[in-house]
């Protein structure tokens, strides 16, 4: 039987999804009432009065709720999910604005009506009297603190955080060479194809709530809803249907609608559904990325960093429900595969009157990689060294693994790299992109009047953070295998890769394995899909659960076959005694035997009657046993496992129009053992596409009043397939992780992390102009050229 682990198997979910068989949130609950949310048109204002009188005339209106209608825990601010000792001024919003709104799009009232048209008509008739206040927009304004977002947060600073090893400032001061850099990254957002949505129904007879949400954490939503609505966890079921992408924005929970919709369903005793529209997603769902950084670096003549001192400012928007995850990730993952002699990093997390900032694919790493890689390029430039040499001079070496920086990572655990071979990766990348041949290519292009440049960027990505995930594996009497994990899917291909793992562990065909994710009815304990953790966490847990099932199946089969479990193997769903043809029993029959029920329902039960199991001197279910052929287990790692990779890109810039074209894109990627290379490459392709968008096209154009001026796909530029490199050259290195039973590392965010850094490097190389701010558009590059010429 072919081993499934490591095979580029086609995604089993694609046929269903591509033929329209998917069921996303808005496909559900056709008879539900529709909810529409009235949102603040102001970035900062006091709410003086909400008058719903006119809205009451709308035929089909069911209910309108404002802050005054919220009771108990619902009237309290939303939870601050991830506290941190340095987060001294954490503020979160109310489910509906109480007396102040702090960003355009903040929920002010929710309207329930027979359909969405009527709900929006009624919402339009609600007259809200606002007293506008000065809006704080952008990091410079937040830092200047001329105006405050929250009256009780001085300087707009939620947190000031510092980590250090060695004495970085002294090391910089003592270094033979020094550089200062100021580096900026603008806002962007996850922008999944499917926006957020939630559906809830209340069973008044049993007092139970069932809800569906397009979320990255069904268990998180469940716990939040139970707490806010005063229900026991077991009385709340949360099911994640097919999800059309999340990329981070759907890990935030509870969104106000995830509380308001079940609240309304319970009060109205009727299903209620909310589906976010695209404009709402732009203005009311989380963004990320905006940070300003100042770097002081000291280095020797070989380009080795002796001291690195980074100060940065993070714009987290109007509230900070997700804590300091993004800036902590920047501050730690900035180091990448390098080992500066001493390192100090300090950041302020700042309030602004814009929508909240929470992790978006990459989660602070793109900014970190941008800062580190720009710094290394600057060092190479100042010393006249090849950029790859400077990187090689700073690499952590394979024999230094595991490498502990003495810093604390986002999960509160040590920043400790488990494995990786950075010099080998760099060699692969140089070959893949043709680094050493590029000088000749540049000359040839120059002779043709063309301008080309090459850049590279490296990163290390902490993946598979804890605390845990679980898996449940059950063998039916039909021989089919049912697998469940509480972690949700957002389209990554979990049905495929988890089935591959189980097929190998149990010796069954993948066709007989069915995987369910993110349904609290099937698995109530879970954390969620984020931080490239699904394969590492749930994959490992499912493997462990499958091993438990296998062990029991062999024990029961050994008894039935009167053999030693050690002599048994499972091939294609059949337990066989090695070297004894004919001595075999199907897993389905073993499942029947594992459950000492006296009724023979079907052929499998009849087949089982020929075997005798169990000690007649003991109870049918022994004290240390349980009926059925199923297993459950959890995986909880000591700390994150660190994947890594390196990207290189060759770009051509138009001498007249400053248009930026991608000529070649190369990726070397190490995520430990590959479960499914096709899916890993798909993740890389998607990540690179998203990175191209983030580097060259996407930005959130807030004006000085806090109005998002490009809140539609007319003005927010997403790359089409025409803007994404036609071919992405990928090479893999597999350094297994010692931390989990499968030796794997996460791969979900890899493609997007070095994008800003690698494009800035290539454009700088083509133009000879320092690129210190990303994203960069042709018009921005055009302006840079003019400014640069003016300075000459």
């Amino acid at each position: 039987m072919t081993k499934m682990f490591g095979e580029p198997i086609k995604r089993v979910e694609d046929r269903r999804l591509l033929l329209g068989g998917g069921a996303y949130l808005d496909d559900l609950g056709r008879d539900a009432y529709a909810a529409a949310v009235l949102r603040s048109p102001h970035a900062h204002a006091r709410v003086i009065d909400i008058d719903v009188t006119d809205a009451l005339d709308v035929d089909g209106l069911i209910a309108i709720y404002t802050y005054d209608d919220l009771a108990g825990a619902m009237a309290e601010p939303l939870p601050l999910l991830i506290p941190h000792p340095t987060l001294t001024h954490g503020r979160t919003q109310y489910a509906l604005a109480r007396d102040e709104v702090n960003h355009v799009g903040e929920a002010v009232a929710v309207v329930v009506a027979r359909d969405r048209y009527l709900a929006e008509d009624a919402a339009e008739r609600i007259a809200v009297t606002y007293e506008p206040l000065p809006a704080v927009v952008g990091i410079e304004n937040a830092r200047a603190a001329t105006n405050l977002v929250h009256d009780d947060v001085p300087g707009n600073v939620a947190a000031n955080t510092m980590q250090e090893y060695g004495d970085a400032r002294a090391a910089v001061a003592a270094a033979p060479n020094r550089l200062s850099l100021d580096l900026a990254v603008e806002r962007s957002a996850s922008t999944p194809m499917e926006t957020r949505g939630v559906l809830a129904e209340w069973d008044a007879d049993s007092g139970r709530l069932r809800m569906w949400s397009s979320t990255q954490t069904s268990t998180g939503v469940r716990a939040a809803v139970a707490a806010k609505l005063g229900l026991d966890l077991t009385d709340v079921e949360v099911i994640t249907p097919d999800v059309g992408g999340g990329f981070g924005v759907k890990i935030v929970h509870p969104w106000p609608e995830e509380l308001l919709v079940p609240m309304a369903a319970r009060l109205l005793k009727h299903p209620v559904k909310f589906t976010e529209d695209r404009r709402e997603h732009f203005i009311a769902s989380a963004h990320e990325r905006a940070q300003l950084h100042h770097v002081e670096v000291g280095f020797d003549d070989a380009g080795r960093i002796l001291g690195l001192d980074v100060r940065f400012w993070h714009d987290h928007g109007a509230y900070i429900p997700y804590g300091l995850i993004v800036p902590i990730v920047t501050s730690t993952q900035l180091l990448g595969p390098y080992k500066p002699g001493a390192y100090r990093v300090e950041f302020d997390s700042l309030y602004t009157n814009t929508v909240i900032v929470t992790p978006y694919r990459g989660a602070g790493r793109p900014q970190g990689a941008f800062v580190m890689e720009r710094t290394l390029d600057a060092i190479a430039g100042s010393l006249g060294l090849d950029r790859t040499e400077v990187r090689a001079a700073n690499f952590i070496q394979p024999e230094e693994m595991p490498y502990d920086f003495g810093l604390t990572f986002q999960d509160g655990r040590p920043l400790r790299y488990d494995s990786g071979d950075f010099p080998a990766s760099l060699d692969k990348l140089k070959k893949l992109v043709g680094w050493d041949e590029f000088a000749a290519y540049r000359e040839q292009a120059r002779a043709e009047g063309r301008r080309v440049g090459i850049g590279l960027a490296c990163y290390v990505e902490g993946t598979g953070v804890g605390p845990y995930e679980g898996g449940h594996v059950l063998i039916e009497t039909s021989g089919k295998v049912k697998v469940a994990t509480g972690l949700t899917s957002q389209g990554q291909g979990h049905q495929t890769v988890f089935a591959q793992i189980v097929a190998d562990e149990l010796g069954v065909s993948m066709d007989d394995v069915e995987v369910v994710t993110g349904d609290t009815r099937r698995f109530p304990y879970a954390v969620g899909t984020f931080a490239s953790r699904a394969a590492v966490m749930s994959g490992s847990a499912i493997a462990l659960a499958a091993r438990n099932v296998r062990e029991k199946a062999l024990r029961v089969a050994a008894e039935a076959l009167e053999a030693d479990p050690k002599d048994l193997e499972i091939v294609d769903g059949m337990v066989r005694v090695r070297g004894n043809p004919g001595a075999e029993i199907t897993l389905g029959t073993v499942a029947v035997l594992s459950n000492p029920l006296r009724y023979a329902f079907d052929e499998a039960s009849k087949a089982a009657t020929q075997f005798a199991v169990g000690d007649p001197g003991k109870p049918p279910v022994a004290e240390d046993d349980e009926p059925g052929l199923e297993g459950r287990d959890y995986y909880s790692p000591p700390h994150a496992t660190f994947a890594n990779g390196m990207h290189a890109v060759i770009v051509e810039t138009d001498p007249d129009t400053a248009e930026i074209r991608i000529l070649k894109y190369a990726v070397v990627h190490d995520c430990g053992r590959l479960i499914n290379p096709r899916i890993v490459e798909g993740q890389i392709h998607g990540g690179v596409a998203q990175g191209v968008g983030g580097a060259l096209y996407e930005r959130m154009a807030y004006d000085e009043h806090g109005q998002l001026q490009n809140a539609s796909f007319m003005d927010f530029l997403m790359p089409y397939v025409t803007e994404v490199p036609r071919g992405i050259d990928i090479d893999h290195l597999e350094t297994p992780s010692p931390l989990n039973p499968l030796g794997i590392k996460g791969a979900g965010e890899a493609g997007v992390i070095p994008s800003a850094a690698v494009f800035a490097a290539a454009i700088e190389d083509a133009e000879g102009i320092p690129i210190t701010s990303m994203p960069i558009s042709p018009s921005a590059l055009f302006e840079l050229r003019r400014t640069h010429e003016g300075q000459r």
Binding site: E124, P132, D703, H705, Q707, Q709, A711, D715
Partner: protein, 214 residues
């Protein structure tokens, strides 16, 4: 959003005043203006309907005049809200007499929120400017005789338009007369409203000049 522009009204300043001084004229000339009410010496409330395609709605709002430095300049603040969102704007207006004509320049800074705020912002300034231009052109046409000063229902002895007071309305309330083919201004609603507000600056011009002359 910043919008600036200018207009030359081809009439002596007192005739400009005469035309602009009467809210009943202005309620007909301001694009999309349905109702205008003087609530005080320097304050009005108004209702403007504007929009295009699916983004259409009625805005209600207030206009206030301040920082008057007769006869050269003043600032007008206006804010309104409606289904498609909110608009608030400050318009700096400057006037000068030149060769028997009146030259008016304006600089508007508008905050456009709600649905319009996020879609098509790049078109709004153009729309606002175009509408303001249309307003001043319409007034200029009246002043230079290229267009009838009224719709012909009634005229005063001086040939100035009569007040189109709503029969049931309070004194000082002016509603636009029903006009066949009077369409909602084409263009993004908020741009249209900003245009209307700039147009309303003309009201204030008239008011200021009026006070100066009396």
């Amino acid at each position: 959003m910043k919008v600036s522009g200018d207009a030359t009204l081809h009439a002596p300043i007192d005739r400009v005043w005469a035309a602009l001084n009467d809210p009943a004229v202005l309620v007909r000339t301001i694009p999309g203006c349905e109702r205008l009410e003087a609530t005080g010496p320097d304050a009005y409330t108004m209702t403007v309907t504007a929009g295009v395609a699916s983004i259409k709605g009625t805005y209600s709002g207030e206009v206030k005049l301040h920082d008057q430095q007769p006869p050269g300049s003043f600032v007008m603040s206006a804010s309104g809200a409606g289904g498609p969102g909110t608009v608030s704007t400050e318009v700096q207006v400057r006037l000068e007499e030149r060769d028997g004509a009146t030259r008016l320049t304006y600089d508007a800074d508008a905050v456009v929120g709600g649905m319009i705020g996020g879609v098509g912002q790049r078109m709004l300034a153009g729309v606002a400017k175009k509408m303001a231009g249309e307003f001043f052109a319409a007034v200029d046409d009246v002043l230079t005789g290229r267009a009838p000063e009224t719709d012909g229902s009634t005229t005063t002895a001086e040939g100035m338009p009569a007040v189109y007071a709503d029969p049931g309305a309070q004194p000082g309330v002016y509603v636009a007369p029903p006009k066949p083919g009077r369409a909602v201004p084409e263009g993004f609603a908020a741009g249209a409203v900003v245009g209307a507000v700039i147009a309303l600056a003309g009201v204030v011009v008239g008011g200021l000049l009026g006070r100066r002359r009396t």
